[in-house]
């Protein structure tokens, strides 16, 4: 597996990577410090050619072996360099209450992915949308956290008020 990108990050942003390792399949992973994430992403996109945004997600490590539980969340970033055919796997580890800088200014596609992470794990992104995406705004809690009960059903929410009887639901220019 190619280690080009991680080597470059290590060379150009030596303080950004806190750890790099190979998983069992030989793929390279880098753990980025949260304060250097945006710089790393900028470097990847603008200098190293990782222009294709693949996806983002998070892992709640609450039920992993105790040695792996802290920090609690692992936010995953996947980007790709098509020309070099290299896949970049990055992680940022944060505890609850620690925000990550948004990268939606670097990759526009990260906006929705960050919303997903906020929605399901409650990891906030400074400067990001921090809006729910799949769950509804009235939902309480973050369902993919391991301590959210499997069948934690929540009650029905009242129908939102209809403001304009002629034009149907919608704001009709009035801000919610």
């Amino acid at each position: 597996m190619s280690t080009f990108a991680l080597d470059q990050i290590q060379a150009q942003l030596p303080q950004a990577l806190s750890e790099r390792y190979q998983d069992r399949t030989g793929a390279e992973w880098g753990v980025v410090k949260r304060e250097h994430l945006v710089a790393t992403m900028k470097l990847l996109k603008e200098k190293l050619g990782f222009r294709l945004f693949i996806s983002m997600d998070a892992v709640d490590r609450l039920h992993l072996p105790p040695a792996e539980q802290d920090p609690r969340f692992e936010v995953l970033y996947f980007v790709k360099n098509i020309e070099r055919n290299e896949h970049m796997r990055l992680k940022v580890r944060v505890n609850e209450g620690e925000d990550i800088d948004t990268i939606k200014g670097v990759y526009q596609g990260a906006d929705w992915a960050e919303r997903f992470v906020w929605d399901f794990y409650g990891v906030r992104f400074t400067g990001g949308s921090n809006r729910r995406i799949l769950m509804y705004e009235e939902f309480k809690g973050h369902p993919l956290r391991k301590d959210y009960p499997l069948r934690g059903r929540q009650g029905l929410i009242p129908e939102r008020a209809i403001k304009d009887i002629y034009r149907g639901p919608g704001t009709n220019g009035v801000q919610d």
């Binding site: 039920h63 309480k140 809690g141 391991k146 301590d147 009960p149 499997l150 934690g152 059903r153």
Partner: protein, 577 residues
Amino acid sequence: MSDEKKPAEAPKPAPPPGPPPPKNPGFVTFTVDGREVVARPGVNMIDAARTVGADIPYYCYHPRLTIAANCRMCMVESSAAPPGKLVPACQTAPTEGVVIKTNTEKVRAQQKMVMEFLLLNHPVDCSICDQAGECKLQDYYMRYDFQPSRLEGPKVLRNKRKVLGDTVVLDQERCVLCTRCVRFMAEVAKAPQLGVFGRGSHEVVDVAPEYGKLESNYSGNIVDICPVGALLSRDFRFRARAWFLSAAPSVCTGCSRGCNTVADFMGQDVYRYRPRENEAINKSWMCDRGRLSYKSLNTHRVPQAVLGRGADAKEAHPAEAIKYAAMKLKPLLGSVAFLASPVASNEDLLAGFAFARDVLKTSTVYVGGRPDGDSDFFLMQADKNPNRKGLEWIARAFGLAVQPFDALTKAMDAGQVKALFALGHEVPQADDDWAARTEKLELFVLSATNESKATRPAHVVLPAATHVEDEGTFTQADGITQRFRRAFPPRGEARPHWKWVADLAKELGHDLGVASSREVFKKLSPSVPELASFEWDKKAPMNQTRPGISTMAAASDGRPPGWREQGVPNLRGLTIP
């Protein structure tokens, strides 16, 4: 013969090298799978290897029984063994500098061979076997064998339903002849009634003919230690599949010994008790009498508050019951006798005695509880109440005089007791006499877990939760205080005793200010010297042990396990965010 003729100057043969000096004096130092282990001399290889994470499989070995080394599953390679031979890890104490390998080609071949032989005549029973899901044959097959059967021809047939005694039935076909049961009966239960009979393929475990029947108060333990599904509990057999049960660490309430148990439950029913290891109290065992004491948690429970007696009795909502009881108690305050049961937990009694002292204004508590029974040489105590010690401690600390039950009956007969508040329905004589006595009372308020003759004459019956339905502590006969964990929310309208008492106290104008059994303990125990230093939170056993396979989400569910099969049980008392 020609020694004398040898020249005197011939070099003396060097003395054989003695054992190497111990690397760590007082300990043996040896190597397991390349990792160095320092252990006490005499420790066997299985236990030693476990300290470095090497898992040696075994069937016949049990740390509390003598070594038989007959299953041959634990064979490992040792540098001290004769060349080309394996040694049984359970039987061999490693010596200084020895090198043990638990995962070589040869060891794996041995494990595979043993598994194949053990399964050769094993019936195809997993789907009807109670042990399925917590069976060592299954675990080890997937780990060490995973091959198809090579058996051609029929399996040897033996007795599939050999009733050994009142508690145990034996399936001889499933037996792997590890003789754990034989050794247990001889060594721990001191009743050597089991033996191995026959030879070769027809070898079976059976009761020795001179006994005819397995008769021991500890025979249930052989079901637990049987590594396969051969010995089965007649009580538990065919009642539940192991992987649907969840387990809560609990304490047996059968007698004042306080054996540590695991209560296996599904929905809101307890299905069995299993002993939980505690070196100081019950080792790994428990008695059959205690094992069956779970039944009272399921049957003849008081489901709802009942107000009035006889024909006027009607079921009532808890809030209504509290109001009614308070209304009835109010004019009688100061003349209400308080009867406490030593079956209730420390938390119940702390709240109960605070109520007796501060609200009922009594200075005496009468002690009810179950009548004494028989005891035996090992675990079972004559006192059948799990918390008499705790009751005495708390009463003393609260400045309440403890009077026996007889004193209460005498006082009642003399007409000195007009009204009675009973915490717990257990009384030494739950007979018609007691019923007749209580019928004469002006007011009888009773907080009871189970229905009995004693509950019928009560004016107010408050349904109480059992110990598996709440967190709490018991203090056993030797003064050891033990925590038990809540398995599921109380059945029906039941609430813990302390909760009833606290609500009543509040209704009568005295707020105890407690909302959970933890708060009861934290708030009221500091005045009890024996309980003050008990670390209620830290002493709680981990509530995560499950028998067999868990089909539940990894404890994240927050629901009483078992709902998958039972539907969602009554969820009162559970908060879901």
